[in-house]
């Protein structure tokens, strides 16, 4: 087995980790912090890289756990809806880059409305193109559970999306 090199094997995962963290935390700055912390954690355990089945899956797992921790922490310190906060410009929205039009914004909203697990699995499957087995490894549930969660997520998106499109709800 080839030796794992941080610069060549771990660092290129940053975008993948970032997208996952962003999907969970829904905040660009938080997600970036999460990725950084993930990298440092993985670096801290570099002695164990050789024994791992998949370093990528390990990184994604660490990233997901950190992101969940962060978002839970954030939930308890929600900002108050005061006058000054209400007037923050839209351009600061972290998703403005990927949300290009109304439809995109709608889909984004729908996916963001899903529970964390479904969101994560949908992200790993439909955006990163991972197999059920890989997702099961990363999330730490059975393949069946992954399928069930993915099914629910896709059904919900489809249902809400068609409803809104057909009836303008």
């Amino acid at each position: 087995m080839q030796a794992i090199n941080f610069r060549n094997d771990i660092l290129p995962l940053k975008d993948k980790l970032f997208r996952l963290a962003l999907r969970i935390t829904m905040n660009r700055a938080e997600a970036e912090d999460v990725v950084q912390e993930t990298m440092l954690r993985v670096w801290g355990r570099r002695d164990e890289w050789e024994g791992m089945e998949s370093v990528e899956a390990y990184c994604l797992t660490v990233c997901r756990n950190l992101a969940i921790d962060r978002s839970q922490l954030k939930e308890s310190q929600n900002e108050e809806l005061t006058e000054s906060n209400a007037n923050t410009p839209d351009s600061a929205d972290p998703y403005s880059l990927c949300v290009r039009n109304e439809q995109m914004a709608l889909i984004h909203r729908l996916i963001s409305g899903l529970p964390e697990k479904q969101r994560t699995i949908l992200q790993l499957r439909d955006v990163e193109g991972k197999s059920y087995k890989e997702i099961a490894d990363i999330v730490g549930v059975s393949e069946e559970q992954v399928k069930v969660n993915l099914f629910r997520a896709r059904q919900k998106i489809k249902q809400q999306y068609t409803e809104i499109n057909d009836y303008g709800l």
Binding site: L11, L40, C98, H108, D126, S131
Partner: protein, 168 residues
């Protein structure tokens, strides 16, 4: 054009029965410009996922991470007691060597003043045999006198203690 295959794939996609490859086919299909009207609503769904896959971190992120990761780390090493005492042992060994060397040197310097047992190397101190004889017999006389004196003294002290023991 027949879109049966795509429709079929889409059905299976919603039921989560498609493989990763089949989903790639779907994605590629919806990526093209012309999509039949009844499938058009789904185009933006797949377009969104494509866009979501295109998010990247800034270039400066690499440098920040590498700066933190590749800085030389100072690791604390655990030293066993023996290793920790090693310098002391060394110092003690050096002192011991110095002391023994000193003793040996002192010993060799002193040897010149010590009694010489090699009689062949003796040199005559008297030229006249008669006076040498006289001196020697005088010396022997002194020795024999002191022997006698001590003998008398010894027998006196024995005689002093013996009656006392008898009385007791």
């Amino acid at each position: 054009m027949d879109y049966k295959y795509i429709e079929q794939l889409l059905e299976r996609y919603w039921a989560c029965e498609t493989s990763v490859e089949e989903e790639q086919i779907l994605r590629a299909f919806f990526r093209q410009k012309e999509v039949p009207a009844h499938l058009l609503p789904y185009k933006s769904l797949f377009a969104y996922e494509d866009a979501a896959a295109d998010l990247h971190l800034g270039e400066d992120f690499d440098e920040r991470i590498l700066a933190q990761v590749e800085r030389p780390s100072v690791k604390a090493r655990r030293l066993p007691m023996r290793r920790r005492m090693m310098p002391l042992f060394k110092a003690a060994a050096v002192v011991a060597v110095m002391l023994s060397l000193g003793t040996v040197a002192q010993h060799s310097f002193d040897r010149s003043r010590q009694t010489d047992y090699n009689y062949d190397a003796y040199q005559d101190t008297y030229t006249d045999p008669q006076s040498a004889y006289g001196t020697v017999s005088e010396a022997l006389q002194i020795v024999s006198e002191s022997f006698q004196k001590s003998q008398v003294h010894d027998s006196d002290s024995v005689a002093d203690t013996a009656p006392k023991q008898a009385v007791q």
